[in-house]
């Protein structure tokens, strides 16, 4: 199912927002207002945004490269930027940072900095949903590099054996930091690993409409009770792995090829030609995105630091006095 015009335009808006957000984050990192690891999603926005929009009903578990997904999920850009700034107003109150955005009110459960570590968590959540009679499904997003780890494999097996309502979404940008996936796995396409266990779908991760369609269909299949699905999207990140990675392992030619397939340019063209969106409306969406980012930065920089004593909060939910 293709997105309708409004949805397609919202996806466009969120993709532009995402990219602007990431560039702003980069800038403020350089200025020392953001620190730690910062993994930018630039180039991968089609995937991050369209998958979230297509999966609005279910739960989502993601990785450390999740700012754009968090926003596509409905978390305010302000709350995300403030988290990167480590502020009290951040979505994790400054405790988590870039890699640890959580908001159960948007059914978004991280933000996990252990490669593959969130996949078993998503499996467990899918179990809970099935147990509760809810087949909307859980989506777990991970990179190509995560598909070499035990956590991923155990999850394929369990999700398949239990027929869980789980969508595995592999963002295959072909690299884990500086290591090309084909040097450490026998395939280019990691869906091969899931083939024995479940339905697998390959989709062009630079094409937002295609991603939307694939994820909608996968969710539909899950809702019908068929069990898990594996969707793999080939994509490409424009920046280094994190902000401190000089990205020297990819040739200029490779980078050029990759950027030629820019997902934002592509969706823009599709909006104009297939959906009848006007150039003026596109510009309005872009302007709105820019101002949302400006607002987010202003909010983040003006927000207060958490008080020092806040570090002792949230170690435990309760002393246990309610129990028994």
């Amino acid at each position: 199912m293709k997105p309708d015009k409004l949805t397609a335009e919202e996806i466009y808006y969120l993709m532009v927002l995402g990219r602007q957000f990431e560039y702003a984050a980069k800038e403020h990192y350089m200025q020392g207002e953001i620190s730690g690891f910062l993994h930018l999603d630039i180039g991968q926005e089609a995937l991050s945004v369209a998958a979230m929009k297509a999966f609005e009903k279910g739960d989502v578990f993601s990785t450390y490269r999740e700012h754009v997904m968090a926003m596509a999920r409905g978390i305010e850009p302000k709350a995300v930027m403030a988290e990167l700034f480590g502020k009290a107003t951040g979505v994790s109150e400054g405790k988590g940072g870039s890699m640890h955005l959580f908001d159960p009110s948007h059914f978004f459960y991280g933000g996990d900095a252990i490669v593959g570590g969130h996949i078993p968590n998503a499996v467990g959540c899918a179990y809970a949903r099935k147990f509760q009679g809810d087949l909307s499904g859980v989506m777990v997003v991970f990179g190509d590099g995560a598909t070499n780890g035990g956590a991923f494999f155990e999850s394929l097996n369990i999700a398949s054996a239990q027929k869980l309502p789980l969508l595995f979404l592999c963002e295959n940008n072909q690299y884990a930091i500086g290591t090309k996936i084909t040097r450490v796995a026998p395939f280019e396409t990691q869906s091969k690993k899931a083939d024995p266990y479940m339905r697998t779908v390959d989709v062009d991760g630079m094409d937002a409409l295609a991603v939307y369609e694939a994820v909608r269909e996968a969710q539909h299949y899950i809702e019908e009770g068929h069990g898990p699905v594996f969707v793999e999207a080939m994509t490409c990140r424009y920046e280094g792995h994190s902000i401190s990675d000089a990205n020297t392992y990819r040739s200029e030619q490779e980078m050029t090829l990759c950027k030629q397939k820019d997902p934002i340019a592509k969706l823009k063209a599709q909006l104009l030609s297939e959906f009848g969106t006007t150039q003026a409306h596109i510009e309005a969406l872009e302007a709105k995105a820019r101002s949302a980012v400006d607002e987010a930065v202003a909010f983040a920089s003006q927000s207060p630091e958490p008080p020092l004593e806040a570090r002792f909060d949230h170690l435990f939910e309760e002393g246990g006095d309610h129990a028994l």
Binding site: S92, G117, P120, N121, A126, E154, I158, E318, G320
Partner: protein, 325 residues
């Protein structure tokens, strides 16, 4: 009632009370648990709530975390402590940290249970203890059940509490007999004074509590003293108030644990005593613990490598004679 039956009863009652409580682990369902702790529960609550998992400990704990996120109250069983090492990433990086890193947005009402310790000739890959590691992880509550009544009350508490709890059992305790006092007013985070005394405070937990109690008559007779025996029960948080009161009275502390001595759990207790109770101590603390070797298979070697009632007696008597207890 047996210790394992008390655990079973705690599971049974919480499962009856709360439909969100589920149990998962290897052979916990149809088989009834390799130490029979979950026996009979699958017949009552069905396979969806007694989940037989594949041999994949990382997933057992990782799935439990996700189930808790999804609104269930999972109780995960790891068959033996050593296999929990496969799940340390999930226990330490996820279970212990998600509540904190999310500023409380994610809550993990879950329990991970496992038996540990030296049983009988199970060799090095099946005989270890990990409270040393897990009680040092911020964000985890770590309980250790040494007796039947505590096992029952503490496991219920662990299941009902909205935080991640590591619940440690001992392989040699499952058939221990005792009474469950349903009306007992037990705070599972409080240490238990197993025996009062005035000259030496002996601190212990899990199976070593029994071994200490077996040693007590000989120790008291030989040294002509009376010992206070404390079962820590909660290894994190520690009930330092009870320890402090006892040490103020006795001025002497002996820590008995089964795990390897170097860097063992008891180091924290003794170190605390040295820092915080320095001026109350009349003699150097004594740690009695397992030797710093992997546990050997041969029975004589195995027994020689861990504290026994006899070796506890011998060490405390020698120490008492030397330092005038």
């Amino acid at each position: 009632m047996l210790y394992r039956e008390a655990l079973n009863k705690a599971l049974d009652e919480t499962m009856a009370m709360d439909g969100n409580v589920v149990v998962l682990g290897e052979d916990v369902g149809l088989y009834g648990g390799s130490y029979r702790v979950t026996e009979g529960l699958v017949a009552k609550y069905g396979e969806a709530r007694l989940i037989d998992t594949p041999i994949a400990e990382l997933s057992i704990v990782g799935n439990a975390v996700g189930m808790a996120i999804g609104g269930l109250c999972p109780v995960a069983e790891i068959m033996t402590a050593n296999f929990a090492l496969l799940a340390f990433d999930q226990i330490i990086n996820h279970m212990a940290k998600l509540h904190y890193m999310s500023a409380g947005k994610i809550t993990l009402p879950m329990v991970v249970r496992f038996p540990q310790g030296v049983s009988k000739q199970l060799a090095a890959q099946h005989s270890e203890s990990y409270e040393q590691m897990l009680a040092a992880v911020p964000g985890l509550v770590v309980l250790a059940a040494s007796d039947v009544n505590y096992a029952y009350h503490a496991l219920k508490y662990a299941i009902l509490r909205d935080d991640p709890v590591i619940f440690i059992e001992h392989e040699l305790l499952y058939n221990k007999k005792g009474e469950v006092d349903l009306n007992a007013d037990i705070d599972p985070l409080k240490a238990r004074i197993v025996k009062e005394g005035k000259d030496v405070t002996i601190v212990s937990y899990l199976k070593m509590v029994d071994d200490v109690m077996k040693a007590i008559p000989a120790i008291e007779e030989k040294l002509g003293i009376s010992c206070e025996v404390i079962d820590l029960c909660s290894l994190n948080p520690v009930d330092y108030a009870t320890l402090e009161a006892s040490l103020k009275k006795t001025g002497r502390i002996v820590m008995v644990e089964e795990d390897h001595k170097t860097g063992g759990y008891g180091a924290q207790i003794v170190s605390w005593a040295a820092e915080e109770m320095f001026y109350s101590l009349d003699a150097p603390p004594l740690r009695i613990a397992g030797e710093d070797i992997p546990v050997p298979y041969n029975r004589q070697l195995e027994l020689a490598s861990i504290p026994t009632p006899d070796s506890i007696t011998a060490q405390i008597v020698a120490w008492g004679e030397k330092h005038g207890a």
